[in-house]
């Protein structure tokens, strides 16, 4: 005789029986935190007063990408303030931020959250807190190198650098699209350059000292 199978709890989307979740420790010891992290980040985000955050959640609610983030922007600020350095720098949130500035516009405490996100990204890059092939920091870096070198961004060269550094196979996949863009004059292989490169470099050096973010 066949025994009846016990009814499994099933969700609407997923018709398979639920799996047991992994048990992880969620207790936080104070010694695992870096209490100076909040101030350190605030200094690097143009002195942003993220300490004055009242945790209202406006940033998370306005953010068009917050529903894909592992921690919402509000949580990122709470964690930064309380010194959850590892979690913040490892989070997907800072890379998903598309710099649309919606949070910054609406924040009742006038915290420039987008700048905080940039500061966190710089911190994460400096401390190599990102997967090697994460295209976002690579793109940012390559873009800056191009502009610093030529004064202009040659898109074809930027794309090639990006693909070579992240996923060379993808370049082959996108080759046809690249060809069409080239044929219609949207993508030029010719290196674009400005005349006063020396002056531009002086300007860049004066606003962006080459030290980058100092590792903690």
């Amino acid at each position: 005789m066949k025994l009846p199978t016990p009814p499994a709890v099933r969700t609407a989307e997923n018709n398979s029986p639920p799996r047991m979740k992994t048990v992880t420790r969620r207790l936080k010891f104070e010694s695992e935190l870096d209490l100076s992290f909040g101030e350190h980040v605030a200094e690097r985000a143009y002195g942003q007063k993220l300490l004055s955050c009242i945790q209202c959640g406006t940033c998370s609610a306005t953010c068009p990408l917050s529903h894909y983030m592992d921690y919402t922007p509000r949580k990122i600020i709470a964690m930064t303030r309380e010194g959850f350095k590892e979690e913040v720098l490892n989070s997907l949130t800072i890379w998903l931020c598309a710099s649309c500035y919606a949070c910054t516009v609406q924040c009742p405490r006038e915290i420039h959250i987008t700048d905080v996100m940039y500061a966190l990204k710089r911190e994460a890059i400096a401390r190599k807190f990102y997967p090697a092939r994460n295209p976002i920091p690579v793109l940012a870096k390559a873009f800056f190198e191009r502009v610093r070198h030529d004064g202009r961004n040659t898109e074809s060269r930027l794309l090639i650098t990006l693909y070579l550094r992240t996923n060379p196979f993808k370049m082959l996949k996108e080759a046809l699209l690249g060809f069409h863009l080239f044929r219609t004059g949207r993508l030029s292989l010719k290196r674009e350059k400005i005349k006063g490169m020396k002056e531009l470099r002086n300007m860049i050096d004066s606003v962006e000292p080459r030290k980058e973010a100092v590792p903690l």
């Binding site: 936080k28 101030e39 004055s52």
Partner: protein
Amino acid sequence: MPETNGHDAPRVGFYVCHCGHNIAGTVDVAEVARFAGTLPNVVVSRDYKYMCSDPGQELIITDIREHKLNRIVVASCSPLLHEHTFRVATEKGGLNPYFFQMVNIREDVSWVCSDHDAATNKTLDLVRAAVRRVAHHRSLATKHVRIHPDVLIVGAGISGIHAALTLANAGKKVTLVEREPTIGGHMAMFDKTFPTLDCAACILTPKMSAVKNHPNITLWSYSEVTEVSGFVGSYTVKVKRKPRFVSEELCVGCMECIDACVYKEGKTPDEFNQGLSKRKPVYIPFPQATPQVVLIDPDTCIEFKSGRCKKTCVEKCDRDAIDFTQKEEIKEIQVGTIILATGFKTFDPKRIPYYGYGKYPNVYSSLEVERLVNASGPTGGDLVLRDGRHPKTVGIIHCVGSRDRKTNRWCSRTCCMYSLKLAHLLKEHSEAEVYNFYIDIRAAGKAYEEFYDKLLEENIHFIRGRVAEVTDWSARPEEEGKLIIRVEDTLIGVVRRVPVDMVVLAVGMEPQADSQDVRRMFNISCSTEGFFLERHPKLAPVDTFTDGIFIAGACQGPKDIPDSVAQAGAAAAQALALIDAGEVELEPNTAYIVEEDCSGCKSCLNICPYTAITRDEIRQKAVINEALCKGCGTCVATCPSGAIRQNLFEDDQIYSEIEGLLQDKESVLTGGGAWRAPA
């Protein structure tokens, strides 16, 4: 206009009010007016949109004149709201105001009935009853009582002090009674005050000395009210003046006797410093105590215990102020009004054992910390813990005893703000890392939110979550020797263990331990939690249900200093309004004795809740003090010979009302049938 004496044939004017949709939406008012017009004696019957409006009242006045009405019935809202309005209209029409009867068809009918027919039928019964009753109304005279201009204020914290100064500045004589040896209350213990951070003593002590020096204020410190009798305008109060064993007139507060005491060091926990220091048997609570007079504690003084002390204090005092023979005195005063400003007590954190108060020496109550950071406190403002260390990390736990069904359900309103203030002061005094553990931050007050904002930017930690426990059990080497606070950081979503050197418990505010006794003595009410009950939570916040007794400050509910002062000012203004009016009008619904029927049996004497009845021993009859009588009717029902009657509640009035109510319910009157109470 002829003044009717009540013996003419009744000519009743009846008015039913729509009260917008409040009544007319449920009760068929046109039918009510038509029905009333058919009742005996009714000459005029109308319905009108708003009877309380000026045109509504004018309707009554003109009808009285044109139709020679001598009785008025209005069916509208509760008499609490507009009985006075319509009595005045009746009087303006030329009648005695008590030829008026009101029917409440809003609170009693339309607001509580959903069935329109049942509501209308109930209204008809009530109207018939009132029309019947009003025919038996009599002309009554409004009574007036003179108000004694002096005021008693009980409690000399900031509320009592402010009320006393306001009244005294208005030229009224005030007796200010304080239980403790000094005035100043809790505020005198505080270090700084939020949100401006000005020093509590700096703003309070000038007011304290103003009280002491004001010619219109009699200050009785170390005294307690023991008995209150009388009524609005004329209260007799007995005050017990406890012996200080030091003459208030002679002592100048030089404190040399304290140095001279045979005790080299203090042995008794100092009440003013929350037990954080020790005092001698002869002491003064704090340097700016008012009155600046020392006192001797007979429980610890050797002279009182054995009678064999060298009495070095007496030798030292060159003014001979010390008097071991001083006795308790009972003083009796006459006042017209009383303001109660008896304050609060702080929640005893021992009631929450998992916060470790009393178990771990470095767990403090917030009031202790106020003393600890105070420059005139036990450590001179040096933040040194009970074990002699200086804290490097401090955790402040909010809502201790508040917002908890197991202790006190209410929010104590002040703890968020004083915790923020203490966080600032602790950081300032010690450079420590300061954590606040809160459920919600309630910073509702002028410049309070801005203060919170400032604190956030001072890099003080705010962890949202109610602390589960404070323990010294360490899970890791770095936690050893620390107190561990276990809490969920609900904003981040993780449970945290925060090791600290010092824990501050932000204890809530509670009614004084003896608030029920005080309530009974002054014949006022308490709300369920034990704070004194105001007459109306919004519109009469300082009045009580006893005329002439007002409340101010935290005895009415948790309050911070600005609110206490504002309320004290309001209470003083209410007392002034009574005093300056000179007399009060009393409702004439009092009981009276029909002397020829009174047998002098004394049945009524003890049952009167207001002690308004005495016995004239010569004539052997009961006597009712009309000013004391509240018209409760207890004596009327008790009197075995029916010798006590009550104005506005005469037997004929009540019986005719009942008959009117039951007229078409003959079955009830005959004891049969299936009559059901009106919906």
